[in-house]
């Protein structure tokens, strides 16, 4: 049974007919073609589907689309502005935060959520914030380096 979902995705207000049982993940990927948000597990275990809902990290695979009605959703596709990568995205490029890259969107969105509430986290705070995001390629070292570099870049810009 579909009903109208009013929602803002990556800054654009939308009204879409969405099934009552549709997951936010499927709405984003299959409905809007925002395939940057990844499915890595069967429910809340890997963090690959992390998006921001009203500015806070949320697992899109454990969230009903209608449960965030009238809310604001940001995905990895929404971070770059006018083709310019965000400081986190740039840092993941410059510091090899991404190898196969499948976990990268979730990692960056989880880190983005952290930096919005805590702009100057130390390495241990970053580790803890990313503890729910699995990566099989990097051993996390360069992911942490990347987030630290983005923090540094933010301080320099400020």
């Amino acid at each position: 049974m579909k009903s109208v979902l009013r929602i803002t995705v990556n800054g654009r207000a939308r009204e879409d007919a969405v099934a009552a049982n549709a997951l936010l993940l499927d709405y984003l990927r299959d409905g809007l073609g925002l395939t940057g948000t990844k499915q890595g597990c069967d429910g809340g275990e890997c963090g690959a589907c992390t998006v921001l809902v009203d500015g806070r990290p949320r697992l899109a695979c454990c969230t009903l689309a209608h449960s965030v009605a009238d809310g604001t959703v940001e995905t990895i596709e929404g971070l770059a502005h006018n083709g310019r990568l965000s400081r986190l995205q740039r840092a993941f490029h410059e510091h090899l935060g991404t190898q196969c890259g499948y976990c990268t969107p979730g990692m960056i969105m989880a880190a983005e959520g952290l930096l919005r509430t805590e702009p100057r986290p130390d390495r241990d705070t970053i580790r803890t914030a990313l503890a729910g995001n699995l990566c099989r390629c990097t051993g996390y070292v360069k992911i942490l380096d990347s987030v630290e570099a983005a923090v540094q870049a933010g301080e320099e810009a400020a």
Binding site: H93, Q99, T104, A131, L134
Partner: protein
């Protein structure tokens, strides 16, 4: 990029050893990269597989009538449709089964318009099974009265391997000290973040296009064809970006022919993609083994012999898992100077999940045993393990009993570097002395090393690579290469090498490496070979292009080609670095002159290694390498939890090419090894996997990753590109026994069956402190069953 109109540096700046970014990272970091899992084709159907869900059974009856009639279902296939299309290493597998031999056996498959309809159709398929007694360990499978799993393989015997060298009886007699243990490396799995996926589509000439995650696109055609009854030449392999591979995509697995069979049946593209639960159950594992190893040495600490008697849990079918003895025997015979060797291995069919290749292939399991026995012998000889290792370490130019020629060997340097950097010898003594002092937390330090092929491994007829390099009128370079990218970063390495040779900006190099109809042969991403083999291929192709350009430029400039070079987008004079003409102008003049020429070169590189051969006496890799890990840990003796505080790594990398990529490979490889050592464990009970999710199958997470101190030893491999060796497997291989040796140093206990989980460690510590009969009661955490 600096504009250099008149003068370039007279000394050429090299990119070799610099930190180069991965060219695909911006798209990956913005969500733009379209992985195979994200792909949708027009008219595409979704394929789903019905798994048996029982380990061993006869299929009495299958009724697909109701599923066929469900609206939206386009095809339902069962074993009857494909019974004769056998595939696999020993042709023991088939896409859809006529008998159940393991939990994830594929019994039927459907293609439907949506995933929801496909799943509903699976529920409508009725299957009647007659369960059979199962075989759940290789020991049980080897018994005379064991149930038979395959009619064609009596006694459940799969592959067997043997290697002998020297007079064992004499060596044993000369050994004053012998260690003798049984090690049981367990089942773990790859856990690629992107689950297994294939999309198949036939054209009307009968040619199959398959979008796949494969990491060996050319032999993949040969292996897939028999499962479909078509010619390998009629398969086009396209490799979209993948969410990891780590060896798991080095064979054909049934979901791939199933996608193709459904596509042929329906005439439409069909996508099969696993859920995470299916991925855990139906993708390959690391090979589990029982290794009975004995090592001897003299009272002076000189190794005398090593034997390994290995029993492999083949699982239900034969993929790359049971072929690991090819590498196991190299470690048994070549990990330190071992004059006498006796190795044998037998794989036994069981009703367990079956193993494929996995980063560290065979050597993770073997080094778990050899590196612990080195530590045990050092203690028996009563010398510092570092000294014991140094005493038995090979030097450059030595040859192992299997004829691995260690041309450039940096084992001694690796040992000394890691030991000095970590203050190993002092800490080891200090921690051992505190072992039985009061206190809940104990510190330990452990050293382990290993040897691995670092220039491919000639287990196929060819270990080579084809490369095509072309340049356009604007000096943009396209490299068309067989080298697959699975996240490891060969894109950055190839880009770096082209920029180094042709003096073009990194951003001006494009890679085409994902279409078997376009790119030439390569044997695949495995055996720590790609930087070595593809690096050489790229360099050779680039140098051919460079020679062509400099010859043409020399004519234009009336100079001698030997006096010219390519730097910063220009042809320069060698002596003073003066830029004489822009490279793109030279290319355009070459193209449009009276006798026009284009720069488009080809190269085929075959490394100077010898085929493995049935006797296993051959120099089968173009290079070999060593790594040493020193792990520092804290053990909670009450809970058994091991915290890894720091790992010092010294690895012979030949020469650093892309420093950032090298670090990333070592960090990531080591993390996989840490999971193997500490937490990852497939709980298989009577053939059924009990923990098919990340909640119950514990990967290392960011907070558990210890600080690493990396040291790159440059042994300058003569055959390697710029001196480089392959590097990516050793980090996964060495860490587990380093932690095991640290655990011994801290607590005096040894674990022979990984992972070193808190339960096992706590129990071992308890048993050491309170031997049976002492009356002590083992502590139990509240809520756990006895």
């Amino acid at each position: 990029m600096q504009e250099t109109a008149t003068a370039s540096p007279t000394v050429k700046e090299t990119l070799i050893g610099q930190r180069v970014r991965k060219p695909d990272a911006p798209d990956k970091a913005t969500g733009k990269t379209r992985y195979i899992n994200d792909m949708v084709l027009p008219q595409m159907l979704i394929g789903k597989v019905l798994f048996a869900g029982r380990p061993h059974a006869r299929i009495v009856r299958i009724d697909t009538g109701a599923a066929q009639k469900l609206p939206g279902v386009h095809a339902v296939l069962t074993g009857k449709d494909v019974a004769e299309l056998r595939f696999g290493f020993v042709r023991d597998n088939v896409a859809l089964k006529d008998k159940v031999r393991c939990e994830h056996d594929e019994i039927a498959a459907v293609a439907a318009e949506t995933e929801e309809i496909a799943c509903r159709a699976l529920e409508l398929i009725e299957v009647e099974y007659e369960d059979l007694p199962g075989v759940f360990s290789p020991e049980a499978g080897a018994r005379e009265d064991a149930p038979q799993i395959h009619d064609r393989f009596p006694g459940n015997k799969s592959l067997a391997f043997e290697f002998r060298h020297g007079d064992l009886a004499a060596a044993e007699a000369a050994s004053e000290l012998i260690v003798d243990n049984v090690f049981r490396p367990h089942h773990v799995t790859h856990c690629c973040m992107g689950t297994s996926c294939a999309i198949a589509d036939f054209d009307h000439n009968g040619k199959l296009t398959i979008w796949t995650q494969t990491q060996y696109p050319y032999n993949y055609k040969m292996d897939l064809a028999p499962a479909l009854g078509i010619h390998p030449g009629d398969i086009r392999v396209i490799q979209p970006p993948v969410g990891g591979a780590f060896g798991s995509k080095l064979d054909v697995y049934p979901y791939e022919p199933i996608a193709a069979l459904l596509a042929r049946k329906t005439g439409r593209p069909v996508k099969v993609m696993y859920s995470r639960e299916e991925e855990f159950k139906a993708s390959p594992t690391r090979q589990a083994a029982i290794i009975h190893m004995r090592t001897g040495c003299t009272r002076d600490g000189v190794l005398t012999f090593r034997t390994a008697d290995v029993l492999l849990d083949n699982g239900a079918y034969t993929s790359w898992g049971p072929t690991i003895p090819v590498i196991m025997m190299r470690t048994t015979s070549g990990h330190y100077r071992v004059p006498v060797v006796d190795f044998k291995a037998q794989a036994i069919y069981t009703n367990n999940p079956y193993a494929g290749s996995f980063r560290g292939y065979g050597n993770v399991q073997t080094t778990w045993a050899t590196a612990q026995q080195m530590d045990m012998l050092a203690e028996m000889v009563d010398i510092d393990p570092l000294e014991f290792h140094l005493k038995n370490a090979q030097r450059s130019g030595e040859v192992t009993p299997q004829r691995s020629f260690l041309r450039e060997c940096a084992l001694v340097e690796c040992l000394e570097t890691a030991a000095t950097a970590s203050d190993y010898s002092r800490k080891r003594k200090e921690y051992a002395a505190l072992r039985d002092a009061p206190g809940r937390y104990k510190k330990g330090i452990g050293l382990a090393s290993s040897i691995h092929n670092a220039g491919g491994a000639k287990i196929h007829k060819s270990d080579g690579i084809g490369t095509i390099l072309k340049m356009d009128d604007y000096a943009r370079v396209t490299v068309i290469t067989g080298a697959s990218e699975i996240g490891q970063g060969i894109d950055a390495v190839i880009t770096l090498i082209v920029a180094e040779e042709l003096g073009v900006p990194l951003e001006h190099v494009t890679l085409v490496n994902n279409d078997s109809d376009v790119a030439p042969w390569d044997v695949g991403v495995h055996a720590s070979r790609t930087t070595f083999i593809a690096g050489n291929g790229t360099r050779r192709a680039a140098r051919k292009a460079k020679a062509q350009i400099l010859n043409a430029a020399a004519k234009m400039l009336e100079e001698s080609p030997e006096d010219l070079d390519l730097r910063a987008g220009s042809v320069v004079r060698n002596t003073d670095g003066a830029a004489l003409i822009k490279l793109e102008r030279v290319l355009r003049q070459m193209h449009f002159q009276a006798e026009p020429e284009l720069v488009m070169v080809t190269d085929y590189y075959e490394p100077k290694s010898e085929p493995e051969g049935a006797a296993h006496v051959s120099d089968h890799s173009a290079a070999y390498s060593h790594a040493v890990h020193i792990a520092e840990i804290t053990v909670d003796t009450l809970t058994g939890e091991i915290k890894v505080d720091k790992v010092t790594v010294a690895q012979d990398v030949g020469r650093v090419i892309n420093r950032m990529g090298l670090e990333g490979q070592i960090e990531g490889g080591l993390a996989i090894g840490l999971g193997y050592a500490l937490s990852e464990d497939m709980r298989i009970e009577n053939g059924m996997l009990k923990n098919a999710c990340f909640r119950d199958y514990k990967l290392i997470t960011a907070p558990e990753m210890p600080p690493l101190d990396l040291h790159f030893i440059e042994s300058h491999c003569a055959e390697g590109p710029y001196g480089a060796k392959g590097i990516s497997e050793l980090p996964t291989i060495v860490i587990a026994p380093a932690i095991a040796n640290a655990l011994y140093n801290a607590t005096g206990v040894r674990i022979f069956d990984p992972p070193m989980s808190p339960e096992k460690v706590a129990r071992a510590i308890f048993e050491r402190c309170a031997p049976a009969g002492s009356g002590a009661v083992e502590p139990r955490l509240a809520g756990t069953a006895a």
